[in-house]
C-alpha cells in the first residue's frame, strides 16, 4: 500500500512541479519587470495572426491527411511499411534543417519554381505567411496522416467484409463507414495540430515575413530583444497560455487522439476499390511522399559532400548534443511514466492538464524566468546544460503523455488487480510489470523526446555557454559566412535526430 501510495503521490509531485515551473517562471518574469505591461497594436496583430495561421495550418493538415491516409489504408505495395515510417520523419526534423530543405525545394530559386518557370507557369511564394503555413503543414501532415490512418485501421475488418457482401460501392463505404470515423477522429487531429502551431516559434523566425507574419512567440522574443520589456513579454506569455486554454475549453468535448501514432500501422485494412481509384491513390501517395521527403533529400544532397570537411568542433558539439538529448529523453520518460501511472489510477484531471502545460508555455518566458529564479543559486554557465536538458524534457512531455496514458490505463485495467492480489508493488512491479508492458510507448516517447531535444536551438540564448550544442554550432557557422559547412552540419543534425528516434523506438519494440 505504501509503495502504491508513493507511486501515486510522485506523479502528483511531478504535475505540481510542472505547474510551478510553467506558471512560476511566468511570474518571475513579470516580477522582474515590476508587473505586466499593456499590449500595443502590433502585439494584438501578432495574436490575431497566431490564431489565424494555427487554424489554417490545422485545417490544411487535417483535410490533406484524409486522402493520404485513405490511400495508405487501402493499398498494399512493396515498401509501404518503410514509406509509412519515413513519412513520419518531418515531425521530428529539427526546424532549422526543415527550413533549409523547404527553401531548396519551394524557394524562389528552388527546384519546384524552376520547373514552373520552365513551363511558363506562375511561381509559388514561400516567404511570409505562406511559408509559415507551408512549414506547419510540412511538420504536422505526417502526424495527422498517422492519426487518421489509425482511425481507418480501427474500423473492424468485419464491417468492410459486410459492406462488400452487401455490394457497397466506394461511395457507400465512404458514407456508412469512413465518414462516421472521420467525423469522430478529425476534430481531435485538428485540435492537436492547432495547439502545436499556436506556440510555434522557430518556423516564423526562420522563414520570417516581417510584421505581417509575426506570431506571439516571435513578439515575445522581440519584446525581450528590442525593448527589453519583460513586462510585455510576460503579458504575451499569459495571452498565449490564455489562447491555448480557451481553445481547449472551446473544444473540451473533443478528445485529442490517444496513442499519438505509437504502435500504428497494423498493416491490415480494407481492400481498395479497383479502377481509376488505384491511380488516384497512387498519385496521392506519390504527392505526399514527394512533399514530405523531397526537402529531406535536398538537404542531404547539399550537405553530405560537406560532411568530411566539418571542423572537429562541430563533431564535439554533436557529441554534446547527443548526450544532452539522451539525458533529456530519459528525464522526459521518467516524468511521463510517473504522470501516466498516476493518471491511470484515476488522479484528478488537473494532473493530466499539468502534463499538457508545457505545450502551451513559451520557451522564451520559461528560459528567462528560470534565469531570474536560478541566478542567485548557481552561475548561468553551470546552469546552461542542465537547464536546457530539463526544459527540453518538459517540452517533450505532452507528446510522450499522449502516447503513454492510454497504455498505462489499459495496463491498470488489465493487470492492476492481479498485481495487487500478488502484492506486486514498488520496484518489482516496475521491473516485472510496468516497464515490460509499456516498453513500446516508452520507447516511442523517449525517441520523440530525444529527437526534439536534439533539434532544439537552446531554449534561450541567455544561457548560452562556451559549450555550444550542434544547432547552436550550425548558427555559428552561418554567422561566420560558412553556409556550405552549415549545410553539412544540418545533415549531421538531421541524421542524429533520426538515429536517436530510431534507436529508442526500436529499443521499445525489441521484446514485442
Amino acid at each position: 500500500m505504501a509503495a502504491r501510495l508513493r507511486g501515486v503521490i510522485s506523479g502528483r509531485i511531478v504535475a505540481a512541479g510542472l505547474a510551478a515551473l510553467i506558471l512560476g517562471t511566468l511570474a518571475a518574469v513579470a516580477w522582474q519587470a515590476g508587473g505586466l505591461s499593456g499590449l500595443g497594436e502590433w502585439d494584438w496583430r501578432a495574436v490575431r495572426f497566431t490564431v489565424w495561421q494555427a487554424a489554417l495550418s490545422a485545417t490544411l493538415s487535417a483535410v490533406l491527411a484524409v486522402p493520404v491516409a485513405r490511400a495508405l489504408a487501402r493499398r498494399r505495395f512493396r515498401g509501404r511499411g518503410l514509406l509509412v515510417t519515413l513519412l513520419g520523419a518531418p515531425f521530428i526534423l529539427p526546424v532549422i534543417v526543415a527550413i533549409m530543405g523547404l527553401i531548396s525545394v519551394f524557394g524562389r530559386n528552388g527546384a519546384l519554381n524552376e520547373g514552373l518557370r520552365a513551363l511558363g507557369l506562375p511561381e509559388l511564394g514561400i516567404y511570409g505567411w505562406q511559408g509559415v503555413i507551408l512549414a506547419h503543414v510540412f511538420f504536422n501532415l505526417p502526424l495527422s496522416v498517422r492519426l487518421v490512418l489509425q482511425g481507418w485501421q480501427a474500423i473492424p475488418s468485419e464491417r468492410f467484409r459486410l459492406a462488400s457482401s452487401l455490394g457497397f460501392t466506394p461511395a457507400d463505404v465512404a458514407r456508412h463507414l469512413e465518414r462516421p470515423m472521420l467525423r469522430a477522429a478529425l476534430p481531435g487531429v485538428w485540435l492537436a495540430v492547432f495547439l502545436v502551431c499556436l506556440t510555434s516559434f522557430t518556423v516564423a523566425l526562420a522563414l520570417g515575413g516581417g510584421p505581417r507574419a509575426t506570431t506571439v512567440e516571435l513578439a515575445i522574443y522581440q519584446a525581450f530583444r528590442f525593448d527589453f520589456d519583460l513586462g510585455r513579454a510576460a503579458t504575451l506569455g499569459l495571452v498565449q497560455i490564455g489562447l491555448c486554454i480557451a481553445a481547449m475549453l472551446a473544444a473540451r468535448w473533443i478528445a485529442i487522439p490517444a496513442g499519438f501514432g505509437v504502435g500504428m500501422d497494423a498493416g491490415q485494412g480494407p481492400v481498395g476499390p479497383r479502377g481509376w481509384r488505384i491511380w488516384s491513390d497512387a498519385a496521392v501517395i506519390a504527392l505526399a511522399a514527394g512533399f514530405l521527403l523531397w526537402p529531406l533529400g535536398a538537404v542531404l544532397a547539399v550537405g553530405v559532400p560537406r560532411l568530411p570537411a566539418l571542423a572537429p568542433d562541430v563533431w564535439w558539439a554533436a557529441g554534446r548534443s547527443v548526450i544532452m538529448a539522451i539525458t533529456s529523453a530519459l528525464l522526459a520518460v521518467t516524468m511521463c511514466l510517473m504522470l501516466a501511472l498516476t493518471i491511470a489510477r484515476g488522479a484528478g484531471r488537473w494532473v493530466e492538464a499539468a502534463g499538457m502545460l508545457p505545450l502551451i508555455a513559451s520557451p522564451l518566458v520559461l528560459g528567462t524566468g528560470l534565469f531570474i529564479l536560478l541566478r542567485g543559486v548557481i552561475g548561468p554557465q553551470q546552469m546552461a546544460l542542465p537547464v536546457t536538458v530539463a526544459i527540453n524534457a518538459a517540452m517533450a512531455l505532452p507528446f510522450g503523455l499522449r502516447a503513454l496514458i492510454p497504455a498505462a490505463r489499459s495496463l491498470q485495467d488489465d493487470y492492476g488487480q492481479l498485481a495487487a492480489s500478488l502484492n506486486l508493488t514498488g520496484w518489482a512491479r516496475l521491473r516485472y510489470l510496468t516497464l515490460p508492458r509499456l516498453a513500446r510507448p516508452l520507447g516511442f516517447a523517449a525517441g520523440l523526446a530525444a529527437a526534439l531535444a536534439m533539434g532544439d536551438l537552446g531554449v534561450i540564448t541567455l544561457f548560452a555557454s562556451d559549450q555550444p550544442t550542434l544547432p547552436l554550432k550550425l548558427y555559428q557557422l552561418m554567422n561566420s559566412y560558412r553556409m556550405a559547412d552549415a549545410a553539412g552540419a544540418a545533415v549531421l543534425l538531421m541524421t542524429l535526430s533520426f538515429a536517436l528516434f530510431w534507436m529508442f523506438d526500436r529499443g521499445g519494440r525489441l521484446d514485442a
Partner: protein, 230 residues
C-alpha cells in the same frame, strides 16, 4: 472462518449489502443475474473495493482495510490471470515472491507445483505459447503455491470447453482439499454449482444472501433466479 459483518457498498444506482459467516474449508457457489453484484462481492472480499460500511474478518482478524496482496486470499479473475510477457516459471514464482528473488528451495517448489498440475517442461514458455487449458493450469499452480486459506474464483474457466472446465474444476477441488481452503466461486452454470459446491450464495436485489443448500435452491429457485436460469 470468513465473516462479512453489515457490509454495504453503493456505486451510483447500484448497491450491495452482505452479512454472512462462511466456515473454513467450505465451498460456495456465487450465483445471480448479470449485474446483480457477484463480482462486486468478490472484489470486496479480495480487497479491490473498499466497502462504505461494515467489516470483513478472517478468523476474527479485521481485514477490511488490508491491501489485497496481504490478505489470506488468492483470486482467479475472469481474464488476465497471467502476465503475458513473463514465462510460466516467473508467473508462478510471483506467488512466492513478487520480486522473483527465489532461493533454491523456492525454485524447487515452483518446479514441484508445475509438475503437480501437469505442466512439467513448460517452465520457460510464455503464456501465448500455451493452450487455454494450460494457461488455466499455470494460474492454478500459482494458487497452489501461495496456499492461501481463501480462494476466490470469478469465472476463470468460462472460456474453456465443457470437458476442460470439468477437468479444471476437478484439479481445483483437489487443491482446495489439499490446503483446506475456503472457496467462493462465481458461476452462471448451475451444473458447476451442483458438482462443486454443496452450498450457494445467492446475489439478488442488492443483497448477497447467506449460503443455502445448493440442490434445493436450484431445484426450486426464487422468481428472479428462475428468470435468469431460464
Amino acid at each position: 472462518m470468513l465473516e462479512l459483518q453489515d457490509i454495504a457498498v453503493r456505486q451510483d444506482d447500484f448497491n450491495l449489502g452482505a452479512n454472512m459467516t462462511l466456515p473454513t474449508g467450505g465451498r460456495f457457489a456465487v450465483i445471480g443475474a448479470s449485474g446483480s453484484g457477484k463480482s462486486t462481492l468478490l472484489s470486496l472480499i479480495g480487497g479491490f473495493l473498499a466497502p462504505d460500511q461494515g467489516r470483513i474478518l478472517w478468523d476474527g482478524q479485521d481485514i477490511t482495510r488490508m491491501a489485497a496482496g496481504n490478505r489470506p486470499i488468492s483470486t482467479l479473475f475472469q481474464h488476465h490471470n497471467l502476465f503475458p510477457h513473463l514465462n510460466v516459471k516467473q508467473n508462478v514464482g510471483m506467488g512466492l515472491r513478487p520480486d522473483l528473488r527465489l532461493d533454491h528451495d523456492q525454485q524447487t517448489r515452483v518446479a514441484q507445483v508445475l509438475d503437480q498440475v501437469g505442466l512439467a517442461g513448460t517452465a520457460d514458455r510464455k503464456p501465448a505459447a500455451l493452450s487455454g487449458g494450460q494457461q488455466s493450469r499455470v494460474a492454478l499452480a500459482r494458487v497452489l503455491l501461495r496456499a492461501r486459506p481463501v480462494l476466490l474464483l470469478d469465472e476463470p474457466f468460462a472460456a474453456l470447453g465443457p470437458a476442460l472446465k470439468a477437468e479444471m474444476l476437478g484439479l481445483l477441488a483437489d487443491i482446495a482439499d489439499d490446503t483446506n481452503a475456503t472457496v467462493l466461486m462465481v458461476t452462471h452454470d448451475p451444473q458447476d454449482a451442483r458438482v462443486f459446491s454443496p452450498q450457494t450464495i445467492l446475489v439478488e436485489d442488492g443483497r448477497a444472501h447467506p449460503p443455502q443448500e445448493t440442490a434445493p435452491l436450484l431445484d426450486n429457485p426464487p422468481a428472479g433466479l428462475r428468470a435468469y436460469l431460464g
